[in-house]
């Protein structure tokens, strides 16, 4: 019985943290916040993500990947959440997973090495907006149509994975109508995407939509726990030193007890996020349940932790100059990605009742 990361996984976690600590900290995130017109993909960062193998984790070794599991990817996702890291890491990893799970040998050979290196940036449109399991596009005569909703990094991607009733398709973004938006969370880019008879290349070895969505939900859950943990620890540090009424505000029991509860919730969300990733890796009987548990718990917890961060900083926490809003805005985005807590609880009910 070892419910903990391996030494290698811990080293990976440290490597990501160290890189972010040295090279891509809140200063760089802030630069991004000040340049909403940019493509949202800081060049040096994206290059490093490719070089470090953080896109290659789940790509099989025969396709120039590292051949590790979702838990390893979850370790990266968590560190990225804590660092509010921008860029199409998630979309690209998920395109890789789609091709790994459902691509023919030729499709895998064509796409996976370039995904592993970061040469190709990916985006996914998997769920009909507001649903948890409905595909986004309809197919007729081999071409795809539909309103795909808001898609992360669609305007910057080299390839889109789009779901339809009969499977997953690779779509060239040039074939889609893409309208970028100004985004609240500036650590990402969002665009409305519609397809109107666009050509698509079907991934021919099965339709793993449900599995892919669960994997996406697990990665997002881990990003959210990273956000939540960072929001909590920054708040604790601030409240240790901010003095009012002659004492650090962190000595007031109303704050202490709330932060203790949040610490407990974050700890549980961390457990759930890692277990869910491991459950997918070992194909555990409860892997679907575990994915929903992780996503629901992480969404609620990140929401609570990022709200508390602003509240327990007082006025400074409400300013543009303070980092607190980076966490809140990212948490709000991811809370609703790949099913929100209410939807996942309903799914838990339908599995377990």
């Amino acid at each position: 019985m070892k419910f903990q990361l391996t030494d290698e996984q811990r080293a990976l976690q440290e490597a990501v943290r160290d890189y972010l600590g040295d090279r891509f900290g809140q200063k760089q995130v802030r630069e991004l916040y000040e340049s909403p017109e940019s493509d949202g993909i800081p060049e040096g960062l994206w290059k490093a993500i490719g070089e470090q193998g953080w896109l290659a984790v789940m790509v099989p070794e025969e396709h120039d990947g590292i051949g590790l599991g979702l838990l390893d990817a979850a370790v990266i996702a968590r560190a990225f959440g804590a660092g509010t890291v921008p860029g199409p890491w998630l979309g690209t990893v998920l395109v890789g997973e789609a091709v790994r799970l459902a691509g023919s040998p030729d499709q895998q050979a064509k796409w996976l090495p370039r995904i592993a290196s970061g040469q190709v940036k990916g985006a996914v449109a998997l769920l009909k907006p507001g649903t948890q399991d409905q595909p986004v596009a309809t197919v007729s005569g081999g071409s795809l149509s539909g309103d795909l909703g808001l898609v992360e990094y669609a305007a910057q991607a080299d390839v889109l994975v789009v779901s339809a009733a009969d499977g997953l398709y690779l779509v060239d973004p040039a074939a889609a109508a893409i309208t970028p938006h100004e985004v609240l969370d500036r650590t990402t880019r969002l665009a409305s995407v519609t397809l109107d008879g666009a050509a698509g290349e079907k991934l021919t070895a099965g339709n793993p939509l449900a599995e892919l969505v669960d994997r996406a939900a697990v990665l997002v859950a881990n990003d959210l726990t990273g956000i939540a943990r960072k929001a909590l620890s920054d708040t604790v540090e601030y409240d240790k030193t901010r003095v009012q009424f002659g004492k650090p505000v962190g000595s007031f029991q109303a704050i202490k007890h709330d932060l203790a509860d949040i610490h407990l919730a974050v700890t549980m969300a961390e457990h759930a996020g890692f277990y869910a990733a491991h459950a997918q890796d070992i194909d555990a009987p409860d892997k679907t349940l575990a994915a929903s548990i992780a996503k629901a718990k992480a969404g609620d917890t990140a929401s609570a932790a990022t709200s508390a961060m602003i509240q327990y900083h007082g006025g400074i926490g409400y300013t543009w100059e303070h980092d607190a809003h980076f966490y809140l805005k990212r948490a709000k985005r991811l809370e609703y990605a790949f099913g929100d807590a209410t939807q996942h609880r309903e799914r838990i009910a339908s599995i377990a009742l």
Partner: protein
């Protein structure tokens, strides 16, 4: 990650499970069999059964063999807890002795104390009570008033303890008393932990009726009660330190037993929800109740993951320290959430034991009431939160 158990651990599980299969009669796993019996009768049956289990070698799983334990690992203890809960086995009659007194005696007791206390405790020959709380000293334990004055070879005890679990069944009580008056403002000084015989004229136990209607706890009055001066644990005047050490022994507990028990209750609640009519359909079809049922399952599963985490740490010989407060908050809050959900499923039907033909709710209703106490005893939720905030997060006092 590796969530499997070793062959040795699994062998232990099968051995214990098959012992339970043979030695825990099916009727003892049902409420209906227990219900008509008086509390005294129930206690005696549990006591005898536990003695039989101990005689078969299933006691003190993690305790050294030299004290009559099994010499097992933390994992074996967790498996034992899990199997006990799965089998619906009777709760131990010596919860406080096993959780607190035994480990403390093994750590700092004299040789005589080790010999005299541990084995009879494991074999339920002695039922131990914990006499800490007083009417004026609950969360603020150092406010305790009970006096123990030296007289000859003994102390003479005067004072009152309250909320004493098993007060009516206790043979002995480990209790805190003031053996000298507080030295100036130092409230923690002058306290000693005494091991007192409850079967003497100077000790009177009275039952207190709980909101469940049962009387598992009571008051204990000491009127010139006697305690030999050799019966001090940890040395005279060191009672506060001894008490802190004693309370720290709860820390290793993984909560896998609690998870198993509460998950069983959650399953029973789901069963009820499938039967209960709520106007537009069964409770289990109601979207809001589904959210509540799912939410309590989320907390339960998180409790399970957390138990694995604790077990991983303790198996590697790590002390969880103050993180143990998180385990206590987590299991007791989860238990309350399951209870909240149960009450919401029934609505007004919660008020009666048989709101619909086919439903018999006594056991679940008692559990839902009992859950209210678990966030109070053993350090209230508020006290635990302060510990987590100050000792784990490092917030200033």
């Amino acid at each position: 990650m590796d969530l499997t158990f070793s062959k040795e651990d699994e062998d232990f599980r099968s051995e214990f499970r098959s012992w339970l299969d043979t030695n825990l009669p099916a009727q003892m796993r049902t409420v209906d069999w227990w219900r008509p019996k008086s509390e005294a009768e129930q206690f005696q049956i549990r006591r005898d059964w536990e003695a039989k289990k101990a005689a078969a070698g299933f006691c003190g799983i993690q305790w050294p063999t030299e004290y009559g334990g099994r010499g097992g690992s933390p994992t074996m203890k967790a498996i034992y807890d899990e199997e006990m809960a799965k089998a619906h086995a009777p709760r131990t009659v010596n919860p406080l002795g096993l959780a607190f007194l035994g480990p403390t005696v093994m750590a700092i007791g004299t040789d005589d104390q080790k010999r005299d206390i541990i084995k009879p405790l494991l074999h339920t020959e002695t039922i131990w009570c914990q006499g800490f709380s007083e009417p004026g000293a609950g969360s603020d334990l150092a406010a305790l008033q009970m006096k123990a004055e030296p007289q000859g070879d003994s102390y003479v005890l005067n004072g009152q303890k309250i909320w004493t679990t098993n007060a009516m069944h206790g043979d002995k009580i480990f209790t805190l008393a003031r053996t000298s008056s507080p030295d100036g403002g130092k409230r923690h000084a002058g306290i000693s932990m005494l091991l007192v015989d409850m079967r003497q004229p100077g000790v009177e136990a009275r039952p207190l009726k709980q909101m469940t209607g049962e009387s598992e706890f009571g008051e204990v009055f000491f009127t010139d009660a006697l305690c030999p001066q050799t019966e001090v644990l940890g040395g005279e005047g060191n009672g506060w330190m001894t008490a802190m050490l004693l309370l720290s022994f709860e820390r290793g507990s993984s909560a896998i037993g609690q998870y198993t028990e509460f998950k069983g209750q959650w399953d029973a609640v789901v069963d009820v929800a499938k039967q209960v009519d709520r106007g537009s359909g069964k409770a289990v079809e109601d979207p809001v109740l589904r959210q509540k049922l799912a939410n309590s399952l989320i907390e339960l599963e998180c409790l399970k993951y957390h138990s694995w985490h604790v077990l991983t740490q303790t198996s590697q010989g790590k002390d969880l320290g103050f993180e143990a407060s998180m385990t206590k908050i987590m299991w007791s809050e989860t238990f309350r959430k399951v209870s909240d959900t149960y009450e919401a499923v029934l609505g007004t039907g919660y008020q009666v034991p048989d709101p619909q033909p086919g439903l018999s709710l006594e056991e679940l209703t008692t559990m839902s009431l009992w859950s209210r106490s678990c966030t109070i005893w053993g350090g209230s939720q508020q006290v635990q939160r302060s510990i987590v905030a100050e000792r784990v997060l490092g917030l200033p006092r």
